[in-house]
Every structure is written in C-alpha cells, then in structure tokens.
Symmetry: C2
Subunit: 273 residues, 2 copies
C-alpha cells in the first residue's frame, strides 16, 4: 500500500489564487511538496497563493491545519455557523488566527448556500454526518443538525466538481445534481460498515461515524452507479480500507466499477482552464 | 539552508519505551521517519513505543502534536497545572484524548519538581517566558507566572541532559546545574533581539516572545560561555535565523564558540546506554 498523507485538496481557477478545501493536520508538509502553494516574495513581504479555506466539518482531520496557516494572511475562511462557533469559541488556540484585524475573515456557509471565492462558486450540500466526539453533550444544544457536515459543489468556467469527504447519506436529488459534475471526490473512508468494529473489537460503525461504506448493496459504489458523467475518485480513505491494496480483490472491484483511488499529488484539470 | 521540521525530541533509557519532549505540529511525519517510534503489532493490538509526553509550554509548537496521538493509548502526559488547564479546559479538541478512561493520564509538573517517566527522571526548571498570545487577558488571571514555560533536566544511568526549547532568562544557579550535564539542547530561535521586527517592520522582540537571542553580549553564546562540560546544541531555530546558513559568518561564529546546530534525525547517546 502506498503511504498517503491526510486528505487535502486545493483548487484554483487562475493558477494564482488557491482555495483550500479543509485544512488537514498534514497541511504544512503538503504545502512544502506543492510548489504552486509556496509563498512568493513580492514587495519584500511573504505573499501566499493561499487565499482562504472552506471547512466542511469540525473534525480534527478537517480543521487542524488552519493552525499551520497562522503566519499567513489575509485568509478568507468559510464554514457553517456552528462549525465556526466550535472552532472560535470552543478552542482558544485558534485565536492565533486573529492576532491582527485583517488576518482572517470568517463567512458562514450553510447547506443550500452559494459563496464565491477566488473566482470559483461553491454550493454547500447536506451529506448527513454529525458533530465530532470532542463537541460534548453540554455544548451541543442549539447546534443545527444539518450544519455538522457539508459537501461542496464547485463551479468555474463552465466546469463543475464535487468535494464530498464525509458522506453518511446522500439525497436522491443531490445524486442528480452530482451527475452534472465533471469530477467527484468522494468519501472512501471505510470498505464495510463494521470495519473498525471487527479490527478493534468494538466501537462504532462507519455510518455512525458519518461515512457511507464503499462496498455492499447500500454502499457508495452501488449508490452512485447511476451517476455516470463525472470522473469518480475516492478520497479520505482510512488505512484499514482493503481497497488500498492494489493487488487485492477490493481494489479490482473499485476499478471495475469505474472509480479511481486518489494519491498524494494527484492533479485534476476540468473545463478549459 | 537544510529544511527542518519543527522541534521534536524523543528520549529513551531502554530503547523500548520513549517519552516525547513536547509534541510538535509535525509529529506525525516525524514518527513516520523514525522507525524506533513505530507501533509494534503485539497481541493483535497496536502497541506504540511512545509511553507519554512532557509539555514545556502551551505554545502551539509544543502542544499541537498531541492531537496526532489521539489514536494511541495509554499516554502519560506531564505539564504545569496551568498549561494543562489551558489545553484541557480552553480547547475542546483535546477531548479526543479522553474518549476512553485509560486513554491519557495527566500529572502536573511545576518548576522545581522531579518526576519519573520511562525510567528517566525529569526536573522542571524555570526559564522565564510567558503564556502564548492565544491565552487572552480574561483567562490569564490566576495563571502562575513561572509555570508558563519550563525547561527540563533529565537524568538516567548517571547521565544528564537539558532540554531548553524556550529560554528568556536563565538564573545563575541554573547555569551551574547545566554545567553538570552531558548534553544541552538549547533555544536557538533568534540570532538577534530585533530579528523579526527588522524583517516584518514591526512586532515583538525575541525576548518579548520568550527567547534569548543567540548573539550579542547578553545572548546565549555569551551567557553559556562558562558552561563547559556539556555538548551544546541549538534547537528550535526560526527560519529567519542567519546561523542556519552554513556558508555564513553567523554559522562560523556558532561553531567556533563550540556549539552545534541540530538537524532532523540527529541522535544523541549519553552515558553508557
């Protein structure tokens, strides 16, 4: 199995200004291995091509990398109001992003909303899922249920792609929308619903953790079978998922169903950019 | 200049059980490049050689990597009571370390205290310094001033070394103690007191940020001149510090004064281990 860092995507419509989709704990090393994201020395100041980030949940995997950006600014940050509250009010570490007035600007994005960043439009869609474990019962009251985890459909220059790193369930009407995309980056965390329970001898199912398994009659390969137009790529793959083994039957099954499995450094060009 | 990841030290007295000194944001990749820290499959469970960690401050550089350990347990964690409070009460993310009763155990360590972990004794010493920016005025009341940043003197098998990643000032009696060490890992963040101000056109001095500069009549090279016994190594070096350039006069000055500059992967063996 080829080693992978934690899921991180960066998008651009002009090769100059980039938007991060989530901020992985490995963001620092990921930026280092990606010359397009390196700071440009302009006017004696460090100028980063990273214009901002959209967070799709409050999971550590999605937000921790923000703290790697604490010396870059200004940053445009987008998240649902509740995810924003968890980060900014529940975790003082993130005040490092607010040392200067213009360091960061937060804008709420809720399921159904459309925002525009770096010349790309992003529509938030509901994908099920829950607030992470660290948001304890006492602080959950008043947190909107469908704002815990979102997916994104991004469009620019007539091209469209979907970023769906955490999908528990996907409404039928959303499936239709996804069929109009050129590219689908989809939650491939677990192969089966009981994957971690079998390995650890206890714990929660994939769906309880907010992830539709890849295999099975209600898994994502079956669920997305009628989504034919886009190139379909699994991302956010746990190291317990047997489809990572390129010599195994699960990998074969995924490829035969028309899906790809993402690697570090993959680049996807859509539209006539 | 050779690229370096953020400062991280791991110590052992038996090559089996390791204690981390701080938990850097780069900890995950640092563990990956260090086979001694890899999990051993024993009895079907993931067994990590990492027994615990001692935190010398609440700086992001010192604590963020804890979140990379959220799937490892049990962990013995040590910090001053105030640093512990900042982490556990001010940042809900760290509840990921308390999902199971035996996942982590926190033990306070204050300046002057001696604790024992993995067969090594650690004495906390005061090194000046302050709570990080993210601990805002409102939450600072009641936080003991000399518990913000500590250094450590570690001993085992008759050998001793000091870990001092954040030193604003060092008392004379501590200097004498340090002269009995075999190895000194010392704060080399900045070359001059006004280093960042000159580069950024504003901001705080090195000392205001809790770091004694390396150069100058009150810098660490001069201050530690009478500390002759230990091997002296600079760690925690900011990428603005000109001594990183091995072709420059500052590097020469450091080496001529008997100091070394640490690199990723450095190993130090002391005593008759």
């Amino acid at each position: 199995v080829r080693a992978r860092t934690q899921t991180q995507v960066a998008v651009t419509s002009d090769h100059e200004s980039w938007i991060l989709l989530n901020c992985s704990p490995d963001l620092r090393s990921q930026i280092e291995t990606t010359p397009e994201l390196h700071s440009q020395p302009t006017n004696g100041l460090r100028q980063s091509p990273i214009a901002g980030a959209i967070l799709t949940s409050a999971d550590i995997d999605c937000v921790l990398g923000l703290l790697h950006l604490r010396e870059q600014q200004p940053l445009e940050l987008y998240a649902t109001a509740t995810v924003c509250k968890i980060i900014r009010e529940g975790n003082s570490l993130f005040k490092m992003l607010e040392q200067k007035p213009e360091q960061t600007r937060w804008t709420p994005i809720e399921p159904g909303n459309l925002i525009s960043a770096a010349g790309i439009s992003f529509r938030a869609i509901p994908t099920g899922g829950d607030y992470p474990y660290y948001v304890q019962n006492g602080s959950r009251s008043g947190l909107a249920e469908d704002s815990a985890v979102i997916g994104l459909i991004a469009g620019t220059h007539g091209a469209k792609f979907a970023f769906l790193p955490g999908v528990r369930e996907i409404p039928n009407e959303t499936l239709k929308l996804l069929d109009s995309c050129d590219l689908l980056l989809m939650d491939g965390t677990f192969w089966t619903d009981d994957e971690l329970i079998r390995i650890q001898g206890g714990g929660r199912t994939a769906r309880e953790m907010g992830h539709m398994p890849v295999s099975g009659s209600d898994g994502s390969i079956e669920r997305f079978r009628e989504v034919r137009r886009p190139r379909k790529v699994f991302i956010h793959i746990n190291n317990t998922n047997p489809m990572l083994n390129e010599n195994g039957p699960e990998y074969r099954q995924v490829r035969d169903a028309g899906w790809e499995i993402a690697h570090d450094g993959d680049q996807f060009v859509i539209g006539d950019l």
